[in-house]
Subunit: 355 residues, 2 copies
């Protein structure tokens, strides 16, 4: 009796996070112990260290989606699918850092930088990139292993796998648009929001919710409500990320405040400043943003232009509008009451965070 009543209690986001981390940790321990793959021990360690410190927002949203659609009881399957999403995310970040040539992630050097540093000889940058491509690939393969051992029923597979496939293609499309736009600054705010939608809103919020909800057998109205909630929240999440990339405290974000600016990321913040700026301000932005040698003095000049043009406050307003829109959806969404409470809390955290 008591076991049953514990199992039917809804798991809190904090508990979901801990449980997902345990699944990942057990999975990596198994890999470490696999005698046929002893040579991969270094890769397992690197991946494990990389995964420390993530916010686990996607796995938490998968669990919340499952709960929102009425999922309860044995969480084994949803937690394993959630862990698979986090492992996939490790893959996406490792490759993203290669594409952006980023120096730091989660307060540590990025994987390609760590690997390049381990190799003293000449083509060390090349070795770092090659090793990081491969570690990302391994995380992708292992996210599938987690998925394929999640004991999905046939109905769950039929509901979840197409959404998962969409999610993967969408995030890669977002990355592709982002890569193409990087270094070619435009003041096209809508274009930046399209990249945002694919790269973050759908990938980080909508699809994890959908996947969890589909595991619980969600019907079309529930999935549609997930979308209506997720897209504004996800856009707000990315807009906050754009601001943190320029204004965040490095000790809190774990990311350099220069990486996005040096990489020439065409964020909504940048597009807004280009749209509102004077000719002189636009010229300075185009000179400074994308300069791989940009220093803190140059970054301060950019920040001053973001303030002077009103771009920073415009993005803050965009975040607030989207946050409120997401909350309005929750007021009428056909979700379970506990899930609505948790999603409200998460919406506030995701849009007002400092890390």
């Amino acid at each position: 009796m008591s076991t049953h009543s514990i199992a039917s209690e809804l798991m809190s986001p904090a508990a979901a996070r801990t449980a997902v981390d345990a699944v990942i940790s057990d999975f990596l321990d198994d890999r470490r112990r696999d005698s046929g793959q002893r040579e991969l021990a270094g890769a397992v360690k690197l991946l494990e260290e990389f995964m420390v410190g993530g916010k686990r927002i996607r796995p938490i949203l998968a669990v919340l989606g499952w709960q929102a659609a009425g999922g309860k009881g044995d969480e084994t399957t949803v937690l394993r699918v959630a862990a698979s999403l986090e492992m996939f995310h490790a893959f996406a970040l490792i490759h993203d850092d290669i594409m952006d040539d980023s120096d730091t992630r989660r307060g540590r050097p990025t994987v390609h930088r760590i690997l390049a540093g381990e190799r003293g000889d000449d083509p060390s940058e090349r070795y770092g990139i090659g090793g990081a491509v491969l570690l990302g690939d391994l995380a992708f393969a292992w996210s599938d292993d987690l998925l394929h051992t999640a004991a999905l029923t046939s109905a769950q597979s039929a509901a979840v796998l197409p959404i998962l496939g969409e999610m993967r293609t969408e995030v890669m499309l977002g990355q592709y648009l982002d890569l193409r736009a990087t270094g070619e600054l435009t003041d096209d705010i809508d274009a930046t929001l399209t990249v945002n939608r694919y790269k973050t809103a759908k990938y980080t919020v909508e699809r994890p919710l959908h996947i969890g909800a589909a595991l619980a057998g969600a019907d079309t109205p529930v999935l549609a409500a997930c979308t209506a909630f997720a897209l504004p929240l996800g856009e707000a999440f990315q807009l906050r990320d754009d601001l943190l990339g320029v204004y965040g405290e490095v000790r809190q974000t774990g990311k350099s405040r220069l990486d996005d600016l040096r990489a020439g990321k065409n964020t909504t913040l940048v597009a807004s400043a280009l749209r509102a700026g004077s000719t002189a301000q636009r010229t300075r932005l185009r000179t400074l943003i994308g300069d791989p040698d940009l220093d803190e003095t140059g970054a301060e000049e950019i920040r001053a232009i973001f303030e002077a043009t009103g771009a920073r406050s415009a993005v803050e307003r965009m975040i607030d509008d989207r946050y409120r829109q997401a909350l309005r959806v929750l007021d009428t969404a056909p979700f379970t009451a506990d899930a609505v409470t948790a999603l409200k809390h998460l919406s506030a955290t995701a849009t007002r965070r400092t890390s």
Copy 2:
């Protein structure tokens, strides 16, 4: 009646190849028509062009494994899984070319070179690498989409997915060992054969056979016979590849004869020459192999040392030994007779090929 008798005829390797290509082509056409992902049209085209001209050895082996284990009748599922393997292979090659910094593949510039060339501005190499990482990732995701839409029964999923997971981790382990060994030449022939086993023998021959056989419900003796046949044949296949990388006709192989030498690939051929060479020969090999600016004159000097040390003929003998061993396994393997005939033919082709 006549439809039934056609469906129960065993499909020839050539017919399997054509059928797998049709599955891939239809899949990519669907992607092209997907209005939500119109922006990916360029990526679809690039991937489609990349996939032209492959030998399709993995999908053919999957179909042969299925036939060897008694699979017959409706080939829809095995062909779709086979197409998934080929799509996965496109991913593996695109990333392999980044890691090896190769210039050409299948007679065309490699993906990262094509993309770098499309971009005129300064960090074009970086853009080429980023885009190629992403195109490879997309092929990986799409190989899963093919797999997840192959209509596997629960029994087939339970049999096939663990093998598929092993295959993916193994090839990445092989790549990792290869990457680590590249540029650090040793005369350790066994170490080169270990890389060969993971990177090629298991990935290219054993696992595709296993996957096809598992789809047909193969028992342990059939799977064990697949392994006993596949490992020597796969090693021979890679040893032939190593020779073709240095001695092949570019018009036939589609690969530069300088790429492997410039990248400092520690092949069995190189290790054999280091093992057998004089101090002077070893010094020359260590100077020339791995030099990114190696020219045809330097390559000729290396080839002369491979001849003089007997390394080339030693590798030819290793190929022949393994080819014969694979044939001996076929004499007693519990495979269907037609599959044995086809596997014998394929063994001869794979080890004696010129492309």
